[in-house]
């Protein structure tokens, strides 16, 4: 803990800004809905697309609902869904990569060929096909986002794991007669955790952008649930008047993703690697 606090102080300014934004959104997702001034679906304002006021900090939306309350709820959907999907994608990709690295060419070859094939389908296109085939309930969206980004994580994790598997200490462990599972989990995995954490952050950004993009197209989170992307979509008719209801959720997504990006970029050790 003390080390991580020291690490945070040593971050460059951009990294501190990133860290602040990330912490802010994690907090917003956790306790935001409790702080929401109005119930999420209640029609509380007299006018639609109101500007900022004392009663409604972020104005009202296309039905006269409080934008701040809807934003706090939407942030929970966006952050939780993307974090769960990124976690699923990273663990699946890394588990497969470790299997490939310790399993020898017979496992590695077909698995890597298959992932190479999946990676050559652009991710938005891939997820559109998946949504058309499966539909877009919340669990399915989580699964679709995870499947879309498994190949990317696999590629990074495999490159790391294959290198580590050639190291002397792993060869020694093999000669000692350790099982493949032990080698993968106890010898290889601990040494690739740091780059994998950075990759997790990147997957999270990609997934936030993918899911809010899908919601924006009307193919993601379905009403009455709404993530930040859905909020942009439902208020699109306010674009002509420059309504706060459409800008606020879009800016919210941007601060979340930019924050994570700035933080990852500022992490120590990243600049040194090529």
């Amino acid at each position: 803990m003390a080390r991580s606090i020291k690490g945070a102080i040593a971050l460059p300014l951009s990294g501190k800004i990133g860290l602040t934004l990330v912490l802010f959104w994690i907090l917003a997702a956790l306790i935001g809905p409790m702080l929401a001034p109005y119930p999420v679906g209640a029609f509380v304002a007299f006018d639609v697309f109101d500007g900022s006021s004392g009663a409604h900090w972020l104005g009202s939306d296309y039905l006269g609902r409080d934008v701040l309350s809807r934003l706090l709820w939407g942030a929970r959907y966006t952050v939780a869904l993307a974090a769960a999907a990124a976690l699923l994608a990273s663990t699946t990709g890394t588990a497969l990569a470790l299997t490939a690295a310790v399993g020898g060419p017979k496992v590695d070859e077909p698995l890597s060929r298959f992932m190479d094939m999946l990676i050559s389908i652009p991710s938005k296109i891939f997820s559109l096909v998946l949504v058309a085939a499966f539909g877009s309930s919340l669990p399915l969206l989580l699964l679709i986002a995870a499947i879309t980004y498994v190949p990317g994580n696999y590629r990074i994790a495999r490159a790391l794991a294959v290198n580590l598997a050639q190291m002397d200490y792993v060869q020694v462990a093999k000669a000692r007669g350790e099982g493949r599972f032990h080698i993968a989990i106890a010898e290889v995995l601990p040494n690739m955790i740091h780059p994998l954490l950075a990759d997790f952050g990147l997957r999270f950004v990609f997934i936030v952008l993918l899911l809010s993009g899908l919601s924006f197209l009307g193919l993601g989170v379905q009403p009455p649930d709404a993530d930040l992307g859905s909020l942009v979509r439902e208020n699109i008719s306010g674009l002509g008047e420059g309504a706060l209801a459409i800008l606020a959720p879009a800016v919210a997504i941007a601060t979340l993703t930019v924050g994570v990006n700035l933080l990852i970029d500022a992490l120590p050790g990243r600049g040194k690697r090529k």
């Binding site: 559109l128 096909v129 058309a132 993009g213 197209l217 420059g242 997504i253 993703t257 990006n261």
Partner: protein, 326 residues
């Protein structure tokens, strides 16, 4: 570039390029299997979907037979694939016309949008990339790094929203909806397409500039640059005469890779501006679950992506002197 080298080197490069081409075609084939399999997972089938809930079992069976849905999946896959290759990917379920007709009315629009975006994005990205590489570690470089890093993570619809607010709501310069039709003059088209081009460019420029910077900096660390520096060559001369000839291949590589971001970006940008291109067509196909149309669109996007990757790899092969000199 290969022409300047020895004939055996050129041959080696040709063999490599041939192998790369073959592997792209194989990948495309596997991609088509994947897309076909996923599309078949759709609960219910196209015949039921087309006729609606009130259709009798006989009607559905008759249509299934007519559409060939009662044949085993491998047979359907082969007939779909041969149809794709010969330019007839089937019948669009919603539009009621051949998929090839629907697509051929949209594809040129998307290609034009992509070409114009590349035309805008490439010079700007080159300038930013080279500029920040020359200023490495300096204030300008750090500012550009932070701004491109942020732009990469900004959702396309925020860029589009802000562009609409500025250019069509506040300044009233540009229409917020892009309409492309045959009767339009070039001026009208450009006015309508200006904002889609702007939004796509911003997203692509950020990617492209970062990769260009990395490619140039990679060259700057080489001994020959240090040599030129010690010789007293001016920095601008070093970049133009020494670094650029060597960095041009990695830069083309970076351009091809980052242009692939266009494919994803176009999905959002074409939809928000109502631009009649292939990406918005594909979104409509998803909403209406028009699988034949969706499959064809997905294949076109995957093919475009693979072509860009192929260009990137071939430039890398051509630029590698070790391969040419073998």
């Amino acid at each position: 570039m290969a022409g300047a080298s020895t004939s055996s080197g050129a041959k080696a490069a040709l063999v490599l390029i041939g192998q790369r081409l073959a592997s792209s075609l194989l990948t495309l084939l596997l991609v088509s299997v994947t897309i076909f399999v996923i599309a078949q997972l759709l609960p219910g089938d196209a015949a039921q979907e087309a006729l609606g809930q009130s259709a009798t079992a006989e009607q559905v069976a008759a249509l299934r037979h007519e559409m060939g849905l009662d044949q085993p999946a491998p047979v359907r896959y082969i007939s779909w694939l041969t149809g794709m290759v010969s330019g007839d990917p089937g019948q669009s379920l919603v539009a009621g016309m051949p998929v090839s007709e629907v697509i051929s009315s949209r594809l040129p629009n998307s290609l034009l949008l992509a070409a114009l975006t590349a035309l805008v994005a490439v010079p700007v990205a080159l300038a930013i990339g080279i500029g920040s590489a020359m200023n490495r570690g300096g204030r300008l470089d750090r500012a550009l790094n932070i701004s491109t890093l942020s732009m990469v993570a900004v959702p396309e619809f925020l860029v589009a929203t802000i562009a609409v607010l500025i250019f069509s709501v506040k300044l009233r310069w540009l229409p917020s909806i892009a309409l492309a039709s045959d009767e339009m003059s070039w001026g009208d088209y450009l006015r309508g397409a200006a904002m889609p081009i702007l939004c796509l460019s911003i997203v692509v420029i950020a990617q492209m500039a970062r990769m260009t910077r990395a490619a140039v900096i990679d060259q700057m660390d080489r001994p020959y640059v240090e040599m030129a520096l010690l010789k007293g060559v001016a920095p601008v001369q070093i970049v133009l005469k020494h670094i650029m000839p060597n960095a041009i291949a990695p830069i083309v590589n970076a351009m091809a890779l980052s242009l692939s971001y266009l494919l994803g970006g176009a999905v959002i940008v074409e939809t928000i501006f109502n631009y009649p291109g292939l990406a918005s067509l594909m979104v409509n196909a998803v909403t209406s679950r028009d699988m034949p149309l969706l499959q064809a669109c997905a294949m076109i996007f995957c093919a475009a992506y693979l072509i860009l990757m192929l260009i990137a790899d071939v430039t890398a092969i051509l630029a590698n002197p070790r391969l040419r000199a073998q």
